[in-house]
């Protein structure tokens, strides 16, 4: 092999420099409300007061904080990394602008610049149903097409949702992910800020995906957005969130909670692509309840972060409900992606499919951790789990921790796990057609991810491929 074959081509080199400008920039933000670091009841009270929340929410926050204090850090997964989190060295609330803007014109210039570089206005022109872009802890830009509004779709920031749709929020908030669930869900409930609130009225098919962009932009700042989606009977909606984060040198915590409720016959697809900076702890609780004949699909892509722990869950609560989890994780240098899925079959004739794909590169580590639980009454249910790991380099690591708890024998359960390496023979085949080794490896990796990528809207697929290209750079197979 000649030396030139080992050099990344100029496209890839240029892409690297792009990373800092396109995804790693920071704006000098004069933070409007930047409280002190650390967490206590005073901070919680302040957050709630600043947001002018109803008392019941303030009370919920305080209760949740007590739960947070009383719960131990999880004793499973990558405990060494989890123990590195210093909860008293984190900002719990930052509010960059006084009020939420409804018009693009009202958005401050420096924030607009950020969004321009993320390409939000362009995306909006194409097919945005509504934008809710999170900058810091507060939603600063929010718009929705008039026609959607007329149809009765409610798409707000969670903060506005609480004020404008208090009834619905009060009815569903914390019902799918209670603060008792885990330490990070408790923390989120105590200090949540931002996130999306969506309600789709009965029978409505929302044809355009609803999108939100999230972004962390200050060191040591935790982001605790809270998302609640309710699809009423027979309605359909697709929600998309994409994340890009700047590069930082100190630890940062992201602990979101997402609650999704698909009522009878409803369909919800929730698509996420997260590209966190390499120092971020991404500890997210995502859970959905699917009622009779409802369908929930999590499409979940995880790139970056120091440690991600994320197991999107679907509870099949009614007969004939369906669950689909399709996830991909990319673990690069010093990263641990501990991702997976949970499906709870709690009713007859329910079905689920989990497809988990992971790529580990260099000393990166990807773990699949999953649970399929089928209760005794969930007869004639079907579940399939497929885990597919691709290793790049000798140090890369992949683990699988599948758990199946099947309480009745009238079910069909399949489990498949594969680990593969980028094969020398495949590389030769592709290089013999003129691709450099780097290009060949990238093509193989993109091909491996294709079952995931093809589920994404075009512009997300393009962005994901670009991110993977950056991550793959300089790989020595």
């Amino acid at each position: 092999m000649s030396d030139s074959a080992k050099q990344p081509n100029s496209d890839l080199t240029n892409l690297n420099s792009d990373y800092a400008t396109k995804y790693g920039f920071r704006d000098p933000v004069d933070y409007f409300h930047k409280g002190a670091k650390g967490i206590n009841h005073e901070v919680v009270e302040m957050i709630s007061k600043l947001k002018k929340e109803p008392r019941w929410m303030t009370d919920r926050r305080h209760e949740a904080l007590d739960m947070f204090f009383s719960k131990p850090i999880p004793q499973w997964g990558n405990t060494a990394l989890l123990n590195e989190i210093d909860f008293q060295n984190i900002y719990y609330f930052v509010k960059p602008v006084e009020e939420m803007s409804k018009d693009w014109d009202d958005v401050p210039e420096y924030i607009k610049k950020t969004f321009d570089r993320l390409g939000i206005p362009e995306a909006e022109k194409k097919f945005l149903g509504g934008v809710s872009a999170q900058y810091e802890s507060e939603v600063v830009y929010h718009s929705m097409r008039d026609d959607l509004k007329k149809q009765g779709v409610i798409f707000l920031s969670m903060d506005s949702g609480l004020h404008e749709q208090e009834e619905i929020v009060r009815k569903y908030f914390g019902t799918v992910v209670p603060p008792t669930d885990n330490k990070f869900a408790a923390l989120n409930t105590a200090v949540w800020s931002g996130g999306s609130f969506i309600y789709v009225p009965p029978g409505l098919d929302v044809k355009i995906p609803l999108q939100a962009y999230f972004r962390i932009n200050i060191e040591n700042m935790g982001q605790f957005e809270r998302t609640l989606i309710i699809a009423d009977k027979g309605s359909r909606v697709h929600y998309i969130e994409g994340c890009t984060a700047p590069i930082y040198s100190t630890e940062s915590l992201h602990a979101a909670v997402v609650e999704v409720i698909a009522l009878e016959g409803a369909y919800i697809r929730y698509t996420t692509i997260q590209n966190w900076a390499r120092n971020i702890f991404n500890l997210v609780t995502k859970r959905a309840s699917a009622y009779r004949n409802a369908t929930v699909e999590w499409i979940d892509g995880n790139i970056g972060s120091r440690l991600s722990m994320k197991y999107p869950c679907i509870q099949l609560m009614g007969e004939g409900a369906k669950a689909e989890v399709l996830s991909v994780a990319f673990a690069g240098i010093d990263q641990h992606q501990d991702a997976g899925a949970k499906v709870i079959h709690a009713a007859p004739n329910t079905s689920s499919r989990i497809t988990s794909k992971s790529i580990s590169k260099d000393n990166g580590r990807a773990s699949y951790r999953g649970l399929v639980k089928i209760y005794k009454n969930a007869v004639n249910s079907k579940a399939s789990v497929e885990c597919d790991a691709l290793l790049i380099g000798e140090e890369a690591r992949s683990d699988t921790y599948p758990t199946m708890e099947i309480d009745n024998d009238q079910v069909k359960v399949e489990h498949e796990a594969r680990v593969s390496k980028v094969a020398e023979e495949q590389l030769f085949y592709l290089t013999s057609r003129g691709l450099t080794e780097d290009e060949a490896r990238l093509l193989i990796v993109n091909g491996f991810m294709e079952p995931f990528t093809k589920e994404l809207p075009m512009e997300y697929a393009v962005e994901l491929n670009r991110l993977i290209e950056l991550e793959m750079e300089g790989t020595v197979g």
Binding site: A5, E424, Y429, T431, S432, R433, G434, L443, G447
Partner: protein, 256 residues
């Protein structure tokens, strides 16, 4: 046939696989406009030779020289050899899951041209080529070689050859796995590809492909060496008598 510089020229090539010498001094010149066939029994080293020439990392050329249109092949990586105009149609093409035939070919063409091909031009040529090979158009969006039959894989190899338009095409057992209709179609395309400015080196066990693609020269490889060369009639002799008679006739000479 003009006697200018050879397009493909290799001299005294020795190839080692896993420490074992499988090609033991092979020389050949292919001039532009020529079709050569290397025939030989299984295990004689035919595929090792083509893999080594293409630059497979497991097939090290431990001795000898090889030039493509005057350029030193042995100093190039596989992708550079491809860019220089060498092409290998594989005996057993591998599947690349998730990569569609169309996407793969676009990427390969881009690497050759240094820029993306115009989409509508690409589409036009690509579909025309698929039609010529009687490859169903649905294959454009199928994953490369995944779930393809043996014959479909071979057709797609020839499709790639036609699209990349190399100076020298090494065709490794391209006829195996083809039924008679597919063999005719594939042969047609090989003949259509062939012109005065390129050269073909066919590697085959059987004579049947040579009924359709007429070689100018036929060489017999046994035990890692070319032991006999001749015209097209040599292939017919082999078909009739098998390889035994040559093996017997050359044994004394080969085992020095």
């Amino acid at each position: 046939m003009t006697e200018k510089n050879p397009l493909l020229d290799f001299r005294d090539i020795h190839v080692e696989v896993e420490g074992k010498e499988v090609i033991r001094g092979v020389s050949l010149r292919v001039y532009s406009g020529q079709i050569h066939a290397i025939m030989g029994p299984n295990g004689s080293g035919k595929s090792s030779l083509s893999n080594a020439l293409m630059g497979h990392p497991d097939y090290s050329i431990i001795k000898g020289e090889a030039y493509l249109d005057g350029q030193n092949l042995l100093k190039m990586s596989a992708d550079e050899r491809s860019h220089a105009g060498l092409f290998l149609a594989f005996q057993y093409p591998l599947a690349i899951p998730g990569v569609t035939v169309a996407n793969f070919l676009r990427t390969a063409l881009k690497s050759h041209r240094g820029k993306d091909a115009d989409m509508s031009d690409f589409r036009k040529i690509f579909l025309k080529q698929m039609d010529a090979l009687s490859i169903d158009r649905s294959f454009a969006t199928r994953y490369l070689n995944e779930g393809f039959s043996g014959g479909e894989k071979k057709k797609v190899e020839i499709l790639q050859m036609a699209m990349l338009n190399p100076k020298i095409a090494l065709l490794d057992e391209t006829d195996s796995g083809l039924d008679i209709d597919a063999l005719k179609i594939v042969s047609n395309e090989i003949n259509r590809f062939h012109n005065d400015n390129n050269g073909i080196l066919l590697v085959t066990h059987y004579q049947r492909l040579l009924n359709y693609v007429k070689p100018h020269h036929v060489h017999v490889m046994i035990n890692g060496r070319l032991v006999k060369s001749g015209g097209p009639e040599l292939a017919l002799q082999l078909e009739e008598k098998g390889y035994d008679w040559i093996e017997k006739a050359t044994r004394g000479k080969v085992e020095v």
